[in-house]
Symmetry: C2
Subunit: 614 residues, 2 copies
Amino acid sequence: MNAPDKFASLLALTREPFPASTKSYLAGSQPGLRVPVRDIQLTNGEVVSVYDTSGPYTDPAVQIDVRKGLASVRGEWIAARGDTEGYEGRVRKALDDGQKAEDGDRLAQLRAEAAALQRQPLRARSGANVTQMHYAKKGIVTPEMEYVALRENGRREWMQQYMQDAAREQRLAGNPLGASIPKIITPEFVRDEVARGRAIIPANINHPEVEPMAIGRNFKVKINANIGNSAVTSSIEEEVEKLVWAIRWGADNVMDLSTGKNIHTTRDWIVRNSPVPIGTVPIYQALEKVGGIAEDLTWEIFRDTLIEQAEQGVDYFTIHAGVRLAYIQLTAARRTGIVSRGGSIMAKWCMAHHKESFLYTHFEDICDIMKAYDVAFSLGDGLRPGCASDANDEAQFAELHTLGELTQIAWKHDVQTMIEGPGHVPMHMIQANMTEQLKTCHEAPFYTLGPLTIDIAPGYDHIASAIGAAMIGWMGTAMLCYVTPKEHLGLPDRDDVKQGIIAYKIAAHAADVAKGHPGARARDDALSQARFDFRWQDQFNLGLDPDTAKEYHDETLPKDSAKVAHFCSMCGPKFCSMKITQEVREFAQQGLQSKAEEFNRTGGELYVPIHRAD
Amino acid sequence: MNAPDKFASLLALTREPFPASTKSYLAGSQPGLRVPVRDIQLTNGEVVSVYDTSGPYTDPAVQIDVRKGLASVRGEWIAARGDTEGYEGRVRKALDDGQKAEDGDRLAQLRAEAAALQRQPLRARSGANVTQMHYAKKGIVTPEMEYVALRENGRREWMQQYMQDAAREQRLAGNPLGASIPKIITPEFVRDEVARGRAIIPANINHPEVEPMAIGRNFKVKINANIGNSAVTSSIEEEVEKLVWAIRWGADNVMDLSTGKNIHTTRDWIVRNSPVPIGTVPIYQALEKVGGIAEDLTWEIFRDTLIEQAEQGVDYFTIHAGVRLAYIQLTAARRTGIVSRGGSIMAKWCMAHHKESFLYTHFEDICDIMKAYDVAFSLGDGLRPGCASDANDEAQFAELHTLGELTQIAWKHDVQTMIEGPGHVPMHMIQANMTEQLKTCHEAPFYTLGPLTIDIAPGYDHIASAIGAAMIGWMGTAMLCYVTPKEHLGLPDRDDVKQGIIAYKIAAHAADVAKGHPGARARDDALSQARFDFRWQDQFNLGLDPDTAKEYHDETLPKDSAKVAHFCSMCGPKFCSMKITQEVREFAQQGLQSKAEEFNRTGGELYVPIHRAD
């Protein structure tokens, strides 16, 4: 079938609610403030409520038309602040899509549709600063901050028992390693974290569709998924569907890394249809505009690209302002040199002109643009290591120190800022990255790729990197950039995106549990209780991927009856240790009648174990 | 097709040598002592040599007939020690296979074939002790110890550059966290590690086919794969093929966890065809012999089962002697109780008789059997936690302390011993396990399942547990018991076994790299260099799974030409950062002619980066 049909049928699929799940909303202090959660109905009558990144797509009550885009969430809040103004915006150019006149009808049509999506751009009124950090520093608690507080807390009723256990037992408290996570997140706490730069809420005033979320070490660890067309391998519709698919499985943020033609049009579609913050690397598009010739890049072209994307509603920009002329030589002795695309582009520019990077020299000019739209910085790690033997070298840390300086300049302008990090870093060298980042970047949120702990796992780098990601997340990284099984090998397809996201949800949750994030462990406890009670459906539905869990169980025991069976396929009914312990329980009963107090102690309390072969 | 045909075709598949790989052998001090390595031929003329667990199956020069079994490796060494004697052995009973008279022809045939496999059993001459630990304590360096030393060192020529780097740069040295790993492993070092109980060489005198390997914190971290038929789901041939498949992908040890009928016959086939040590849980078979009624178990039946399996050549026994009567009550308050099958069996026995476990009271009698065949103890963790909220509780550590006492009793008899551990343990609670084990078990090798760091990933527990496995491996665990994607859900099939093994090879290698194991990092460096040089085939072939890496690359760039292309599918030729940096290099050249010394410094040394989207 042709692209649009394929797209429509895929989207229908990704809109299906999760099994036994209902989308519901936590009410805030004003009518428009509704925070989504996913309530999972268990067979024992309990309801477990989990953080929900999937947006309106999993709400059957919402009509979705990707050609119209999503409804606004923040429009009224932005307007109510009265510090923005609508304007006609920058004039659209064919070059924005890398196009010339002779382009086909199909593209013209897509562009027309994208134009229909376009909202009138907003910017700060002259002299105003519309960043969440600016409001926070002025002591204002925005609806975005309240939204984040409700979202981080989630529905607390169902986790009472766990919260009590945690209070009772230090053993369950976790080890925050320097994070200070309150039991209940208040809007004021969010404001304070944003004001001191320890958290950001990526929320461009031109992306009112976004459901606000926070990135910071004292909040749940978040994950980012990269999508983006490349050459002619994927259609615009496929990119939008990839976005919807990514947030279904739990991506908190999505970066659009599109290159080649139609970048602008693709971005319109993605932003207008995204309930999660969208990040980009503007230098990619700027390079397209100069025909891929890095030395032809100019500040003016880059600046124009920033405004173009800020008007579209991109929530954060990766900017490699730390790749300074003097640092390039530090990479010469490396095994794999510069592996960051943006880093290599800027290295070439610096070499060609033998001048300091214009991203560095114009950094304050960039801040002026960021604060007019509330675009957050993701200060790029253009010199991150591309293999274990380049990890933690002079080049990497020299850039990190510069990112620390730039953070303070950004904060002077009240521009929200996070710092990009790792790449390939063996386990024993991970802590040094976190320690150095906290010290030199003043606790600005760390946003790391992996790290990949080994280099010999092509095809499985989502696993090699999930190990490093879980560890650095525990140590304090606020957002983990996912790695798919195709890393180093090819473009991730739909299933690769899912595999990468699930691996990173595991890493992020393992970090939340280790940090003792309130309620993080409650979901584990609910699932383990279901496992112990042989409530198979509940066990599947409480997992990160109910479909796959059920499918695997079906492979050995397909019958529905097996979904309530008190044994599993590993031993079959006869040998099940559960059966054995039921008998232990019977002995215990007799013991209660006939025997002494030990039996009571030892037997009276016995339970049904789950099966596991040792 | 029927089972034997399917088996034959699968086995043919698993016998294929790895791409660009040759099996070769390192020569020891005597003719029969040849240690296998896999040499990977690179396109640039280099040869990278890696540790090889696959045995004769990947040696095209070797004729394999699973109905005859593998050739003996250790026969002469055992005979030369002159401390063993052949004997007719225990009389085979139908009950050994859980069979009655009316069994079908097919089984009778299988049993006959298995009988044909049977070697005459050996045992220690009266008064003799034939364990590697006994020889080690007497100062004898056995051929098995020399074999292990050569195997751990591998072919060192190819890793010279890395070894020099490591010498030059502390930064590459790793952080052993208390391990003391020499640059070169000598046979004497192996002897000393075995003598002090810090390492074991599982090598039953009735398993001469085994290629000796060591389990200890100062050697490479090893992994174990579990196989085993269950109910009637798998045939004996399938179990043997699963063994060959498991060692192909890197399983250092395999445990046969078969239950139900044909246990004895299955085990004959597995041991006779296995070049890696085989472990079992004898209580499973003992329980079969008493019709699955735990309270009918007796010391006599268990003892007879130990001898039966020792004569077959099982290299280590999991024995849950630490599940003491008094500890059962400690599990009563747990969320998931006792999740170990062996643990629940013994708990039931103790409850039923209200007596101390016969495994505990007869521990020295068990030692007498172990030392007559050199079967190693794997002291079972019958009380390991089955969920995060039961981690590190009183029950778990009470058992661990008892395992420490038993270790000293085993060592008194010179019986090789390792300790089983974890299960479900959040990241922040992992170190306590390792610390407690090192302290209470006197550095006896730790052998852990995972640990699983979270409970909410059914279908992906190989990833949730690889995170914990990598960490505890770095901290000092000597062998990691794999977890497959089917954990908690069903029986692993062929692909699940592979997925579990690859995830655990990643964890084990990440641990070796972090500990600074000499040469561990050399393979990463070779692969990263190939990646940097765009030697795609070398990148695939140096990976843990060349087939999958190539397949993923083919999905986007199928052509062979792409395998030498200086770009990858992520940006395509036009945008490749490699192309960009080639141009940087050209600038640098001009710089050398026309410009000052900075250009020389910055440009003269430039290189080709690999691509990675940021």
